[in-house]
């Protein structure tokens, strides 16, 4: 994970992003609810990928806790709502709860590195799933949890959840920008490259890693809670889905690790890819998606954004260093 693998020509990227956000926001007026839902998924996965990027991209820790946080968020949110808490407050409540959970857990789980951490984080998903299905009195066990369906018709519901998810995605994006330009982001990049050396230059690695892990949980919690209200029914196996926990890192990789826009590009590309593929090939969509992933590993190791980078580099190879310099400057300022 190359910290300054490249710096997206900052202004251009932001403009593209703004355009994208506008398009997503305008979806209810451009197309029917299926596209609204698609847009909602793009925002949802975008937010998740951005969240994962904090721990997986910047700190370089292969975390598979995403589903744990999402599931936890959806249960907490659902339970709060059933307890009569207004929807939006329930979402916030879930966010807070999940953040605290991650913050407390981080210290312990981040003692592991590499594979160990990967497995530890994925086990967390399993453990929570088991708890959710065991704790019948609260979670309803395997029967799942019903949340009152939001009335106001499909169009209204569609918009509510699209804008909710979009808002979360924007928060995640803003947070990423802040981190990217902060002491924290710089420290995390140091950690991802050489943890001992980072320690030596005075970085409190444990605190930084825990911060990254917590950041990677915050918005997962929100997304989970929103999702729960959206589907109005959650069950352990789906809420704590292993598939989700594997998908999100793939999306981030697909876009480009440790960058502001990589995860967003990756999530969008992945969702659209899935949509188009399964629709065309009823029997083989999974295999095709697999092939796509394999090809990506070989031909786009740096993620989709790398393409622009390569082209850009080729064009202005001469001015490369100067550019990198300006980039560093922008990143530092």
């Amino acid at each position: 994970m190359n910290a300054n693998r490249f710096r997206f020509p900052a202004r251009g990227a932001h403009l593209l992003f703004a355009g994208g956000v506008l398009l997503l926001a305008a979806m209810p007026f451009l197309a029917d609810n299926y596209f609204v839902r698609l847009a909602t998924f793009v925002c949802m996965y975008g937010a998740l990928a951005l969240s994962w990027n904090f721990i997986g991209g910047y700190a370089g820790y292969p975390s598979f806790s995403t589903a744990a946080f999402v599931g936890l968020g959806s249960y907490v949110g659902g339970l709060l709502q059933n307890a009569g808490v207004p929807m939006v407050l329930a979402w916030l409540g879930a966010t807070v709860f999940v953040s605290l959970f991650a913050a407390l857990l981080g210290g312990a789980i981040l003692r592991m590195k590499g594979h160990y951490f990967a497995i530890g984080s994925i086990t967390l998903v399993e453990v929570l799933r088991m708890v959710a299905s065991l704790w019948v009195d609260v979670t309803g066990g395997g029967d799942g949890l019903n949340i009152r369906i939001l009335d106001g018709g499909p169009d209204f519901a569609g918009r509510v959840f699209l804008y909710a998810m979009l808002a979360v995605m924007l928060c995640a994006w803003a947070t990423t920008l802040a981190v990217e330009r902060s002491r924290l982001g710089f420290g995390l990049r140091c950690i991802s490259q050489n943890e001992e050396a980072a320690d030596m230059v005075g970085i409190d690695t444990n605190r930084y890693k825990t911060a990254a892990y917590t950041l990677s949980a915050v918005y997962c919690g929100t997304v989970g809670a929103i999702y729960a209200s959206w589907v109005s029914y959650i069950a352990p196996t789906d809420a704590f889905g292993i598939l989700l926990t594997l998908k999100v890192p793939v999306m981030a990789m697909l876009g480009g690790l440790g960058t502001v826009y990589g995860p967003l590009v990756g999530a969008t590309a992945f969702v659209l890819m899935e949509e188009t593929i399964w629709a065309r090939f009823l029997d083989y969509h999974q295999a095709i998606l697999g092939v796509v992933i394999v090809l990506l590993i070989f031909f786009l190791p740096g993620g989709l954004l790398k393409i622009d980078y390569r082209r850009g580099l080729a064009r202005i190879r001469s001015a490369a260093w100067a550019r990198a310099g300006r980039a560093t400057a922008t990143e530092v300022r």
Binding site: R181, R183, F186, G187, C190, M200, W321, R333
Partner: protein
Amino acid sequence: MGRLLEVQALDKHFGGLHATREVSFALEEGEIVGLIGPNGAGKTTLVNLITGVVRADGGSVVFRGRDVTAQRPWQAARSGLARTFQIVQPFPQMTVLENVCAGALFAGHAASLAQAERDAMDHLEFVGLAHEARRPATALTLPSRKRLELAKSLAMRPRLLLLDEVNAGLNTAEIDQALALMRAIAARGVTILLIEHLMKVVMSLSQRILVLHQGELIAQGEPQAVIRDARVVEAYLGSKFAARQAAHGVAATPAADTTTEVHR
């Protein structure tokens, strides 16, 4: 001149190996002290103990009046203890500038990233790497990397700088430049503990010398006096040689072997 560092009976075992035995010494503000001793004498272990990389089994380290025996490396770094490594370890995927930035930002108490970058630039100027600032750290030559390592440690605004074999693998010309650099650093009022094999460097820089042998501090004091110390000579050149010298009444003058490393 106040007391900067006080090491009390520092003890460390690695399994069967007794790495340091009850080592005690002190450093005064602004001193340059050489720490010498044959390979495996426990020099690096001592540095690791002082900077909190490894925990001492016994004894204490007092730095600027605070007991820092139990502190972690990052705390050491922030409290003004900087060290360079025998094997330089930069952040491979960062530019030279970013590497130094890290030091300035997290230990050098730079107010902001911008501030850190300005400081970093100054330090790069100082060690003469300014022109390389934008290059990836991994693209540097060995001597330049050593300079980068120095710049990084300086950026940490150290009160005490522990230089672990900064000259290993440099040629005579490069060593002379390094010497000049270290003098300049000292001139800034940074206290330096210098771990060296090259007697030339040690002799010309150090005001005092500590000699470590098999984890034990066998001698310390004036450079000239120390290297005439029988136990030191024995530690380095073996007992026979020492005996013969004693017989002939000649001393192993440092001039005899300047750039070549004494032991071996």
